[in-house]
């Protein structure tokens, strides 16, 4: 796979849009909005919204009109990080190189900041995505399913109970915990790019392979990366006795699995219409980020 550059022009669009967001009216809840923005604007590659915009662009449409939905995906991702990092769940102090939301604002505010980001994500699509009503319902339904029990929250539940269950199905857990939101990012881009129901399965297949790749690399990084490199506490999953691709298969085999996932993602990418250079670049970034 060619080392094409990450689509920084799309990341810049996302960053600018996120930076301009405010939540709720000015008033006594200002500090809640501050906590939400603290975590939302902590940086990162913005993989999910960039994927949405890259799919839109691949289909020959301008990316900017898709920004409310793309941003909604980043709000949801940020909400899930805030809740995952809570003392009662992963108890993590460091995220994206900064103290986590509850460390700075307190646990109570962090819970509410996550809740608030989730609600505001749906508002962004319902109130600010300039699209036909049918399309908006499809987008909102996709986001809701991706974050529900058959998606992100279900996967997170399996994850927190996985240390007790040696038989945990890694692929299923990650397909839900991180895979469904990545899938939603890709599918929302396809929907906004005018793809109809018949065209969506190819995007879901590509997204599923990308999700697996993402997670294997994440598990490898947890072991080989430093705090500084990761922007979060390295070795955390390992120390917590969590089931990961590395704990189950060893580092060498996990790297082989990552290579296989790259190959499958490339193959599924070849099935998509349009100019998929941007999507290829995101795939290459996800594959290469640990090396």
């Amino acid at each position: 796979m060619s080392r094409s550059a990450y689509p920084e022009h799309l990341r810049a669009l996302v960053e600018e849009f996120l930076g301009g967001l405010t939540f709720g009216p000015r008033g006594p809840m200002d500090r809640l909005g501050e906590a939400m923005r603290y975590s939302l604007l902590a940086g990162g590659k913005r993989v999910r919204p960039v994927l949405t915009l890259a799919v839109v662009e691949s289909l020959g449409r301008p990316p900017s009109p898709a920004l409310p939905t793309a941003a909604a995906l980043e709000l949801i991702h940020t909400y899930s990080l805030i809740h995952d990092d809570l003392p009662a769940i992963d108890d993590d102090d460091l995220r994206r190189g900064k103290p986590t939301c509850h460390v700075v604002f307190g646990e109570d505010v962090a819970i509410l900041a996550g809740d608030g980001l989730f609600a505001e994500a749906f508002s962004l699509v319902a109130d600010h995505q300039d699209s036909a009503a049918e399309l908006k319902v499809a987008l909102l339904g996709e986001l809701a399913r991706a974050t529900g029990v058959g998606g992100m929250v279900g996967g997170q539940y399996i994850d927190i109970t996985s240390s007790e269950a040696a038989s945990v199905d890694l692929r299923q857990m990650h397909a839900l915990k991180t895979g469904k939101l990545i899938e939603a990012a890709v599918v929302c881009g396809a929907l906004l790019g005018g793809v109809g129901p018949d065209g969506l399965p190819a995007y879901r297949t590509f997204a599923a392979e990308l999700g697996v790749l993402f997670q294997i690399v994440d598990d490898i990084l947890d072991v080989v990366g430093s705090d500084e490199q990761l922007g979060k506490t390295a070795g955390k999953d390992h120390q917590a006795g969590k089931v990961t691709y590395v704990s189950r298969f060893g580092l060498e085999r996990a790297r082989e699995l990552a290579d296989q996932a790259v190959a499958r993602a490339e193959a599924s990418l070849a099935e998509l219409p349009g100019d998929t250079a941007g999507l290829r670049a995101v795939t290459a970034y996800l594959a290469g980020r640990e090396r």
Copy 2:
């Protein structure tokens, strides 16, 4: 106000619909669904969904088709209770007469159960409400705004910081914390009953008065009610030094304010079209529940 009976036929519809809900596919996340159903099916008067159905019925339409949206409101209400009860927030062990979600399932699962109920609420409307797309977007937008920083979560934030702020605006806090979701319940009913944009303000006015009434009575109950009567820990707000209608105005004056709120709710109810007997009964129930 006449002591007309609470619309138990609507509550029965809600109860049956909620009882039939399952979340996500069968699998290793079964216990998460169990935690969600534990809190969701703990009983209660189902005021929000009953309000939705009562508005639909007042407009001469059958209530059953509105059940997915009505149920979504109860899912959201239950999610907010689960998160409010967490040790980091109100730290409450008792709710609706049963141990709270985190007491039974653990704090981590309770956080995720709340998150899951919130996501599944949006899925219910997006995927299961049999309505035109424009209407569904209006419903989803109403729910998202009611639960965001300018709504429930913002009000909850003001509440957790209110003991530090003697100047807290009680009416604003409650208008957001409990008022907006009650408003959404009424407005969703109006939307599902065919009310257009011009007709909605009258419903919002009625809902706002109902919300104030609800909260004043809640504050009175916190002081005069028993654990058994309330199904939650009595005197909790008082002990926590929270600003309430009773702490600020005293019990006698709070009762007067409740009477005034009843009068205003009745007056605004008189402005609504259709047969509002069911809405009158809910109002009477909310007014009379402490006496």
